[in-house]
Amino acid sequence: MSATVLAIDGLRIAFGSTPVVHDVTLDLRAGRVQGLAGESGSGKTVTAMSVLGLLPRTASVSGSIRLGTTELVGLRRKQLNEVRGRRIAMVFQDPSASLHPQLTVGHQLTDHMRRHLRLDRRAAKARAAELLDRVRVPDPEGALHRYPHQFSGGQRQRIAIAVALACDPDVLLADEPTTALDVTVQAGVLHLLRNLAIERDLAVLLVTHDLGVMSAIADDVAVMRHGVVVEAGTREQVFRSPAHEYTRTLLAAMPDGPGTNPEGTDVE
């Protein structure tokens, strides 16, 4: 098995005196997609956010999140900003909300590149166009000068993925990356994420409530409920022989019945 890139160990998160995540342990490995499933309020998004220190001031985080040898919990803002976008990047649920409507795609694709990779304007633009081409946004050069509202929802999410990949990170956190998209374009975006993980040796954390999405691209699956990971294993294990009652309930609730796609045939 490939090396662990990001190790979450005994993570606890509380808002004020209300604990929302208890003792979560997860290993993200290079080139693999780790799925994190659960209903809303189960703590899965909060777990992803805590990796990049994106939780509000009122949240207290304890336990350990290690990126290689760097401990991220309690890391100072300055060091954290060297990790954010550079080594760990994030894709959000709704690209029409996560891309700034008043900034060109080119601006949003290059500002962190120029900071992290110290590229000049020209080099950053060239790299940005390459990235857009890689995520299959048509007319990459022209797209740089356009604004998010001039693209379709699926293209916007591809742009958001390009933004996340811009500085060649080791870890990609994807929080419900297809939930806000039309069903018809979901498969394409998932397929892209899957391929990028392999091609760039990227460790992906895929947070989703949708087990169909999970079964399509996750290598490993963890199921969260009430802030606790109740089940974890490879996709095959979890979908074929769920050990926990809750997982069985979730699987039974899938429209196509339990164990859809357990063989791991990826979406095309």
Binding site: R84, D94, P101, Q102, V163
Partner: protein, 353 residues
């Protein structure tokens, strides 16, 4: 190839912004007509006898003089005809002769408008800079001491009456501490700069006269400060709320996740995101600021539109009053037009459709 398949002649593609601006200009012209009607009607509704006011007590007691005056100015004509005559003169840039100064109203206004524009624009710029800083700071430090302090400051700005503040500031800084210059636009020993824009500060600069420039700026300081305090209070509260809303948006979280620096995020992402609602309120605030100038100009003996409006209104100088009404209407239209223009500039969804 049949005719039906001949390529359609390429329609010249016009940016949606151009069409938008043309429509907007058209509306402005219509509104301008509305403004002339409203000022005309309102002025004619004013109780009081303008003829008596114009002629003075002695001449007004002579019926022949009154009749001659009424005929000379067409005051015996029906109101619609009087309006058309007014409009005709207006087209030729003739707003009549002021009864108080004896000069053409246009000449008076040409002197008064720049004086008011200078303090009004100064005040709106100062308010904008101060309230963007305070409002953003308060939003970032929501619930903390900084936030509380900013809220108190903006509440004070909103509650203190402008005329009172003007009097207190004048007494304290000029009569008390002696650090502010006296009233008016310039100290007596200076002569006004050659008129280019009519704004003394700008004209002195254009003329390369730094001593005059600093004197003009010193005279601007107090009226601008007094005038901006209310607007600062208003804008700060609003900007705080707008920034708080934007801070909760995903694109700000996404910018943080990219590891951008705090300053970058504030300028590029947060303030840009809050710029549209802020712009709208600044436009509205400019209107309230203009009405504030009447009181401030009175205290600082500032020879602007407010002083002129006050003088013409209290002496029933109808041409003067109508002239002021028209100019204020035009200023509102211009401000609204500029706001709409900036909307297109700030929001690509407006600009590009």
């Amino acid at each position: 190839m049949t005719l039906a398949h001949a390529p359609a002649p390429a329609r010249p593609t016009r940016s949606p912004l151009v069409g938008y601006l043309i429509r907007r200009l058209g509306t402005s012209v219509l509104l301008l007509f509305g403004v002339t009607i409203v000022t005309f009607v309102l002025t004619n509704l004013v109780p009081g006898d303008p003829v008596a006011a114009a002629l003075g007590e002695g001449a007004a007691s002579n019926p022949q003089t009154v009749a001659a005056y009424v005929e000379r100015y067409g005051l015996d004509q029906p109101l619609p005809l009087q309006y058309l005559a007014y409009l005709g003169n207006l087209m030729q840039g003739d707003l009549g002769t002021s009864l108080t100064t004896g000069r053409p109203v246009t000449t008076d206004l040409a002197a008064a408008v720049p004086a008011t524009v200078e303090i009004a624009v100064g005040a709106i710029l100062v308010s904008l800079v101060v309230s963007v800083v305070l409002g953003t700071l308060a939003a970032y430090r929501r619930g903390l001491v900084t936030d509380q302090v900013v809220r108190v400051v903006s509440l004070v700005g909103l509650s203190v009456p402008t005329f009172w503040l003007a009097l207190v500031a004048f007494n304290f800084f000029f009569l008390g501490l002696g650090i502010a210059p006296g009233s008016g636009r310039l100290s007596p020993q200076y002569t006004p700069p050659p008129t280019v824009t009519g704004l003394y500060s700008v004209d002195f600069l254009l003329n390369g006269d730094s001593v005059g420039f600093f004197d003009a700026m010193a005279h601007l300081a107090l009226p601008v400060f007094v005038l901006s305090l209310f607007t600062i209070g208003l804008l700060t509260r609003f900007i705080r709320t707008s920034v708080l809303e934007v801070l909760d948006r995903d694109f700000v979280r996404a910018a943080r996740a990219k590891g951008l620096g705090g300053g970058r995020i504030v300028l590029d992402y947060v303030l840009r995101g809050a710029s549209l609602p802020i712009l709208t309120v600044v436009g509205i605030a400019f209107g309230s600021l203009l009405s504030g100038t009447v009181l401030v100009e009175a205290v600082f003996a500032w020879p602007g539109l407010g002083t002129y409006a006050y003088n013409s209104a209290t002496s029933l100088d109808l041409p003067g009053v109508m002239g002021v009404g028209l100019v204020v209407g035009v200023i509102y239209l211009v401000v609204n037009f500029v706001v709409d223009l900036l909307y297109g500039f700030l929001d690509p969804r407006v600009r590009l459709g």
